[in-house]
C-alpha cells in the first residue's frame, strides 16, 4: 500500500508526521464535527424540518445571507479601491495603511462589536450625524451590514493585492500602444486579470460573514424576526436547552459553509490553471 500511496523519498519522518496529523485532525476537528450530523440523525426528520423552516429561523437566514451578500459586495468595491491604491500609488503613511488593513483579522470580534455599536448609536461619533438624516445604523439590518463589511474588507484586499502587484506592465503598455484609453485598459486588461481574485475575496468575506457572531450581536440589537442572525438563534436555542433545535440549525449552516469552502477551492484551482495557461 505504501508504495502506491506515497512516492519514495530519502527524507525521514513521513509516517510519524502523517499519522500524527491524521490523529490530531480527527480528534480535534473531524470527530467533534461529525457530532453535529450524528446528533441531527437521532431526531425525526419532520421535527428537524419544522425547526429549520420555522418563521423566525427563515427570517434569520434572510438577514444572515442578505446582509453577508451585501457586505461582501461592499467589501469587493472598497477592497479593490484600497488594494489598487496600495499597489499602484506612493503616498505618505502607505506602510501604516497597509498594516491597518489587517486590523479586523487581529481585533477580537467582541471588541469590534462594542466599538462599532458605540460609533453608530444616537449620540455616537457617527450616529449623531446620521440619525438626524434618518439613517439608523445601530440595531437595524444596516448595522449588521456595517459590522460584516468591517469583517470582510481585509479578505478582499489581501486576495486582490498580490494579483494586482504581479500583473504584467507590458500587457497594459501593449494595450495603450494599440490605442486603448486609460479606462479601456482598466476595463479590458486589468479587470479581467483581477476578476478571479475579486471573486475569491468575495467568497471568503461572504463565508466568514455568514458565521460571524461577536461583531454582529452588539450592533444588531437582536430583535426577533428583524435583526436576529442565524448564529444567534443557535445560541438562543442552546440557552433554552433545545439541543436538537440548535443542532438542526447548525447543520444547515455547516452545509452552507462546506459548499462555500468547496466553491472557494474550485475558484482558486481554476485561477491557478488560468494563470498557467494564460
Amino acid at each position: 500500500m505504501s508504495i502506491s500511496f506515497k512516492k519514495p523519498s530519502i527524507l525521514p519522518g513521513f509516517w510519524p508526521a502523517f499519522s500524527y496529523t491524521i490523529l490530531y485532525l480527527s480528534l480535534i476537528v473531524l470527530i467533534p464535527l461529525s457530532a453535529i450530523f450524528l446528533k441531527s440523525l437521532t431526531s425525526s426528520w419532520s421535527h428537524l424540518w419544522q425547526v429549520v423552516t420555522s418563521p423566525e429561523v427563515v427570517a434569520s437566514y434572510r438577514l444572515s445571507f442578505g446582509a453577508s451578500f451585501v457586505a461582501g459586495l461592499v467589501s469587493v468595491v472598497v477592497g479593490f479601491l484600497v488594494a489598487w491604491v496600495l499597489v499602484r500609488y506612493q503616498f505618505p503613511g502607505k506602510a501604516l495603511a497597509d498594516a491597518l488593513v489587517d486590523l479586523p483579522f487581529a481585533l477580537p470580534t467582541a471588541v469590534a462589536g462594542i466599538a462599532l455599536t458605540s460609533l453608530y448609536t444616537d449620540n455616537g461619533w457617527l450616529g449623531r450625524y446620521l440619525v438626524p438624516l434618518g439613517i439608523k445604523v445601530a440595531f437595524t439590518p444596516l448595522g449588521v451590514m456595517v459590522a460584516l463589511t468591517f469583517i470582510g474588507l481585509p479578505f478582499v484586499v489581501r486576495s486582490v493585492q498580490p494579483v494586482l502587484a504581479d500583473a504584467d506592465a507590458e500587457l497594459e503598455e501593449a494595450a495603450a500602444s494599440l490605442g486603448a484609453s486609460r479606462w479601456q485598459v482598466f476595463r479590458l486588461v486589468i479587470f479581467p486579470i483581477v476578476r478571479p481574485a475579486l471573486l475569491t475575496g468575495f467568497a471568503l468575506a461572504f463565508a466568514r460573514a455568514l458565521g460571524e457572531y461577536g461583531s454582529v450581536i452588539f450592533i444588531a440589537g437582536n430583535m426577533p424576526m428583524k435583526t436576529e442572525i442565524t448564529p444567534l438563534l443557535i445560541v438562543t436555542k442552546l440557552e433554552q436547552y433545545d439541543y436538537a433545535g440548535a443542532t438542526a440549525i447548525a447543520a444547515v449552516m455547516l452545509t452552507a459553509s462546506f459548499l462555500l469552502l468547496l466553491a472557494i477551492n474550485t475558484i482558486e484551482r481554476r485561477t491557478r490553471r488560468f494563470m498557467v495557461t494564460g
Binding site: 527524507l11 480535534i28 484600497v82 491604491v85 487581529a106 468591517f150 503598455e173 458565521g211 448564529p231
Partner: protein
C-alpha cells in the same frame, strides 16, 4: 469584440504606452483620499473609539476596571487557554507541514482542505460541537457526570474550543513556505550523514523560523480574542469561566461602558502588537527569501 477594437482609436484619445501606469494626479490623489477615508471610517475609527471610551472617565476608573478581581481572573483564563492551545497547534502545524510539503502522497489536497475546516465553521457551531459531545445530554455526558468531571461550562471546554478555532493557523503558514523552499538542503544534510533530528533542528527549523513565529503570533492573537465558540462552551460563570472577550460582553451588558472598553483596550493593544509583529515578520521572511 472586433468592431469595438476597430472603433477604439477614433473615439477616444489613446493613453501613452510609456506612462500607462502613471495615472493623472487628480485620479491618483482622488482615489488615494477615497481609500484612506474608507480605511479611516471602517477600521481606524472603531480602534480609536475603544481607547477614547476606555479613558472617558479618567485614568483612575480605567485602572480600577483592570485591577478588578474578575478582570484579573479573565486575563489569567485567557492566557491559560492560549498557553495550552497554541503549543498543541504548533506541534501539529509542524508535523502537518512536514508531511504535506516534503512528500508526495495521494489525497494531499483533501488533507489540506480538511485542515482548513475550522476557518469555514461558524464560531458558534465550533462551540456547539463540544457541548454536544461533553454536555449533560451529550455522548459522554452521563459518564462524565458519574465521575464528576466537568468539561463544558468549565476550563477544559474553553481550551478545547480555543484549540479547535485556532487549529489551522500554524499549518497554513508553514505549508506554502516549506513547499516553496523545497527539500534540497535537507537532502544534502542527510547525504552528509546528519541524523533526522539533526537535519530538522539545524536545517529545517532555522529555515522556517520566521514563518513559524508568524503562525504562532496569529494563533495566539485569535486564541486570546476568540468570542463566539468560547461563549457557547463557557457558561459565563463570573470569575471562573470568563475569558477577556466574554468579560467585555458582561460589562457591556451591565451598562458598565467604561469598564467594558477598558478591558477591550487591553485586547486592542494585543491586536496592534500582532499587526506590528506581522509587518516585522513579513519583512524578515522576505529578507530570508532573498
Amino acid at each position: 469584440m472586433a468592431t469595438a477594437a476597430l472603433e477604439l482609436p477614433k473615439k477616444t484619445a489613446a493613453a501613452s504606452p510609456r506612462n500607462i501606469r502613471r495615472d493623472p494626479p487628480l485620479v491618483r490623489w482622488g482615489l488615494t483620499l477615497l481609500a484612506l477615508l474608507a480605511l479611516g471610517l471602517f477600521i481606524v475609527l472603531p480602534l480609536v473609539a475603544v481607547f477614547v471610551q476606555a479613558f472617558a472617565k479618567g485614568l483612575p476608573v480605567y485602572l480600577a476596571a483592570i485591577r478588578e478581581p474578575d478582570t484579573l481572573s479573565a486575563i489569567w483564563l485567557s492566557l491559560v487557554a492560549a498557553g495550552v492551545s497554541v503549543p498543541l497547534n504548533l506541534v501539529f502545524g509542524v508535523a502537518a507541514a512536514w508531511a504535506v510539503a516534503k512528500f508526495q502522497f495521494k489525497g494531499k489536497n483533501v488533507l489540506v482542505t480538511l485542515i482548513d475546516i475550522p476557518f469555514a465553521v461558524s464560531p458558534v457551531v465550533s462551540g456547539l460541537i463540544f457541548v454536544l459531545i461533553f454536555g449533560a445530554q451529550g455522548w459522554f455526558g452521563s459518564w462524565l457526570s458519574d465521575h464528576d468531571i466537568r468539561i463544558v461550562f468549565a476550563v477544559p471546554g474553553i481550551i478545547l474550543a480555543t484549540t479547535f478555532v485556532t487549529f489551522p493557523f500554524v499549518a497554513r503558514e508553514l505549508i506554502p513556505l516549506m513547499q516553496s523552499q523545497g527539500s534540497d538542503e535537507e537532502e544534502a544534510a542527510l547525504t552528509l550523514g546528519a541524523s533526522g533530528w539533526q537535519m530538522f533542528f539545524k536545517i529545517t527549523l532555522p529555515n522556517i523560523r520566521w514563518g513559524l513565529l508568524y503562525g504562532v503570533v496569529l494563533c495566539t492573537a485569535r486564541a486570546l480574542g476568540e468570542f463566539g465558540a468560547v461563549s457557547v462552551v463557557s457558561g459565563h460563570i463570573r470569575g471562573q469561566t470568563n475569558t477577556l472577550p466574554l468579560h467585555v460582553e458582561i460589562l457591556y451588558n451591565e451598562y458598565n461602558y467604561a469598564g467594558a472598553f477598558a478591558v477591550a483596550s487591553l485586547l486592542s493593544v494585543v491586536a496592534v502588537v500582532t499587526l506590528t509583529l506581522k509587518k516585522f515578520l513579513e519583512w524578515k521572511t522576505k529578507e530570508g527569501a532573498k
